[in-house]
């Protein structure tokens, strides 16, 4: 579920970020990357440190995520193409394509072209043997990427039952570019279907029925951030697949690092050095393992987990496990600090001494009230009601319902405590003010 949501967001974020960003700068950074990759520059450790601290920033501030995610998507798509073992043209590259597609709806995107060309270039450079994405097919059986012996694909049946002569389905699994034809179900007139082999994850799609873009009322629907109404379905990987998550992390880590690097536009910095570095470091473990599609967000999370604890610049990683480490025991005995007034006094005195000077007696100050409780209608009480006539009935403003049944107090004066609370009486509100002496 989460995976689905995240990848949805990823796409949208990608679109957004790309729209926001200057087109030229992005194109620039990509072309830069291309050159660097070709040259195969050496890794530079100090940059790697900087990059890692960036990854912490992402977690500090959610707003940071969209641009990074964007970069990451492009990066991963490129990398996965460039990776020899990589067969997943599933979510990631699809995401990229989708992004591509939506951009193309806008007039004249230089960078768009640049991206595509570059993408192809990369593919060509690194994998001369790898087949291109499958071309549009009329066959009921469609496998987005055939060359994936280790990757898990799940057979999914997509049906169209809202009439029409010719129906096609297009979606994130084809990069929204290719249309897959549906065939009639034998014995069930008016129902068309196609069986797809899809990688696990969330797939968004629409139908083209008799040259009209439509969505099915019988499948889950959602709008993406562009406002397009799409069908979606979540493909869950079968349990038996034996891919070690660790190795996925390693791979994804690589991708992400490279992608991010590339898009920082740090002026001549080798964008893929990280990938190379990681590959050399981890080749032993990751060589034969396959990765599965994963949302960008979880990749970021996993990436951070897999990084060294020392993050540079004096930062070290926060481990939630460390918090859990001390063993907590429950007791039935109330600690003496709550029962024995002398111990309690001693405790507070110690607190006081620890936070000396300005924090003195801070424990005596009650915490700040929520803002809606700050407005006490009794404070706006006035004896005059209108211009001349006096407020003989004690009328008050109508209270906000959130302050009902709350206890308000005044400070104790002359040993008299004054408390007030607003309660409903039928359709009206009584603000009872009780004056009582301190015993």
């Amino acid at each position: 579920m989460q995976n689905k949501d995240t990848s949805m967001i990823d796409i949208n974020d990608a679109n957004n970020a790309q729209d926001k960003k200057g087109d030229t700068s992005l194109a620039h950074s990509f072309s830069q990357m291309n050159v660097d990759t070709a040259n195969g520059l050496e890794p530079r450790p100090q940059i790697s440190g900087r990059q890692r601290s960036r990854s912490t920033l992402i977690f500090d501030d959610d707003d940071e995520i969209p641009p990074y995610t964007d970069h990451q998507e492009h990066g991963s798509s490129n990398i996965s193409d460039s990776d020899i073992d990589d067969n997943s043209s599933g979510n990631d590259s699809d995401a990229y394509m989708n992004d591509d597609e939506s951009l193309r709806l806008q007039p004249s995107h230089e960078q768009d072209q640049g991206l595509k060309n570059q993408d192809q270039q990369m593919q060509m450079q690194m994998h001369p043997h790898e087949p291109q994405l499958p071309s549009p097919s009329q066959q009921p059986q469609f496998v987005p990427s055939q060359n994936q012996p280790n990757n898990v694909m799940v057979p999914v049946d997509i049906t169209w039952q809202q009439g029409g002569q010719k129906a096609y389905v297009t979606g994130s699994f084809t990069g929204w570019r290719k249309m897959i034809g549906l065939v009639p179900v034998p014995g069930q007139p008016g129902i068309l279907h196609v069986k797809l082999q899809l990688p696990p994850g969330t797939h968004r799609f629409r139908f083209i029925v008799d040259n009209e873009l439509r969505f099915s009322d019988y499948l889950p629907t959602a709008t993406d951030q562009m406002g397009n109404f799409v069908n979606y379905l979540e493909v869950v990987a079968p349990n038996q697949h034996a891919v070690s998550p660790n190795n996925n992390i390693v791979e994804d880590n690589t991708n992400w690092g490279a992608g991010e690097e590339r898009n920082q536009s740090e002026g001549g910095k080798p964008p893929l050095y990280k990938e190379q570095q990681n590959q050399t470091n981890r080749q032993g473990t990751s060589k034969t393992e396959r990765k599965e599609p994963m949302s960008a967000r979880s990749r970021i999370a996993l990436e951070i987990e897999s990084e060294p604890d020392d993050m540079g610049n004096g930062f070290s990683r926060f481990h939630s496990q460390e918090l859990l480490a001390p063993k907590i025991e429950y007791t039935k005995d109330i600690p003496a600090v709550f029962t024995d007034p002398t111990v309690m006094e001693q405790y507070y005195l110690t607190l006081d001494q620890q936070q000396n000077n300005h924090q003195n007696m801070a424990w005596l100050t009650p915490p700040q009230l929520p803002p809606h409780l700050e407005n006490v209608i009794l404070n706006s009480y006035s004896n005059s009601q209108g211009q001349n006539s006096e407020n003989t009935s004690g009328a008050l403003p109508i209270p906000n319902h959130v302050i009902l049944n709350h206890l308000a107090t005044s400070s104790i004066k002359h040993n008299t405590l004054c408390v007030a609370s607003i309660v409903r009486y039928k359709q009206k509100y009584v603000t009872q003010i009780l004056y009582a002496p301190l015993q």
Partner: protein
């Protein structure tokens, strides 16, 4: 006066009589159709005093909140414990005046001890009649008149705990103001008040500016009235001493000023005093109701052409007339 004038006069008188009768009946219907709950504002405050509060502290609370009365709450039994009114302070003053050696007791007197003070000075405890808020207003008015009280607490029971809830306190003034604000029929009460037999014009106790204030307080207590008019040697009305004025007199728990004259005691009165309202026997009830609507007036002194005190028209007189009179 010529003949046609007389005829038209008698015709008019007839018309006024009928109109007033219809108007009073209409007001009664109104009071029967509305409940005490209806008089309450949508949101209002209610000051309640714990019975263990010291009397002198409660006085400060009343003055601080600009009120003259408050319901009492017995926190030990979780019950309504009556109303604190200016009468209670008058009792305390009288008790102290006859027992000057008991200052210590007075100083430490709690609200729950007020009943003992009542007994000590031989005053009949006021009937603390109460009424459920959803009963008709007419019934609440009748109960108030029966108990000779100027206010009536509205008491309900909590559905879950079955404990008493003090919902509010209605006063005669509030009810009459409610009537004058919401009954257009009050405009047809055109008969002179002198003809209605509602003005108390004999045995109206009065005092002079030089009368000791303690004597005036005793007059208030003995007569069971809420005010004593102050007249000069010619009997011309010059001021009034109200029961609520004793609150200012003993403000801060000081009972030393009881030897003052009433004129000096009036100097303690706050600036927002409403003033003394007068009327003549020829004034109409509609005019009286107009004034009740506009100002916080609790009685009208009836004066003659020279301004001499001739009687008093209290809110209970008016209420009594609307509820029961004019047949």
């Amino acid at each position: 006066m010529n003949e046609t004038g007389a005829v038209s006069d008698s015709h008019d008188v007839e018309k006024v009589l009928v109109e007033q009768k219809l108007a009073v009946e209409s007001i009664r219907t109104f009071l029967k159709s509305k409940t005490s709950y209806d008089v309450l504002p949508v949101s209002y405050r209610l000051v309640v005093l714990d019975t263990s509060l010291l009397v002198k502290k409660s006085l400060n609370v009343l003055l601080q909140n600009n009120i003259v009365s408050a319901p009492l709450w017995d926190s030990k039994s979780s019950k309504f414990a009556g109303l604190l009114t200016s009468n209670d302070f008058i009792n305390v003053i009288q008790y102290y005046f006859s027992n000057p050696d008991k200052f210590e007791l007075i100083d430490k007197l709690q609200l729950e001890g007020l009943r003992d003070v009542e007994r000590a000075i031989g005053v009949e405890p006021l009937d603390t009649a109460s009424i459920h808020p959803s009963r008709p207003l007419f019934e609440a008015c009748l109960k108030m008149l029966d108990s000779k009280s100027r206010r009536i607490p509205l008491i309900d029971k909590d559905e879950e705990t079955h404990r008493e809830i003090v919902v509010s306190v209605l006063t005669q003034y509030r009810i009459l103001k409610f009537v004058s604000l919401n009954c257009r029929e009050t405009h047809f009460l055109k008969r002179p008040i002198g003809d209605l037999g509602i003005v108390s014009d004999h045995e109206v106790k009065s005092c002079h500016m030089t009368t000791p204030v303690i004597d005036v307080i005793q007059l208030l207590s003995q007569g069971g009235v809420s005010s004593i008019p102050i007249v000069d040697d010619q009997g011309i009305l010059v001021n009034v001493y109200e029961a609520v004025d004793v609150l200012g007199l003993i403000k801060g728990g000081i009972y030393n000023d009881l030897s003052l004259s009433v004129g000096e005691a009036l100097m303690r009165r706050s600036d927002d005093f409403e003033g003394v309202y007068t009327c003549t026997r020829n004034d109409r009830l509609s005019t009286i109701m107009d004034n009740i609507r506009k100002s916080r007036v609790h009685r009208f002194f009836v004066v003659d052409e020279a301004g001499r005190l001739a009687g008093v028209l209290t809110l209970s007189d008016i209420l009594n007339y609307i509820l029961l009179g004019a047949n």
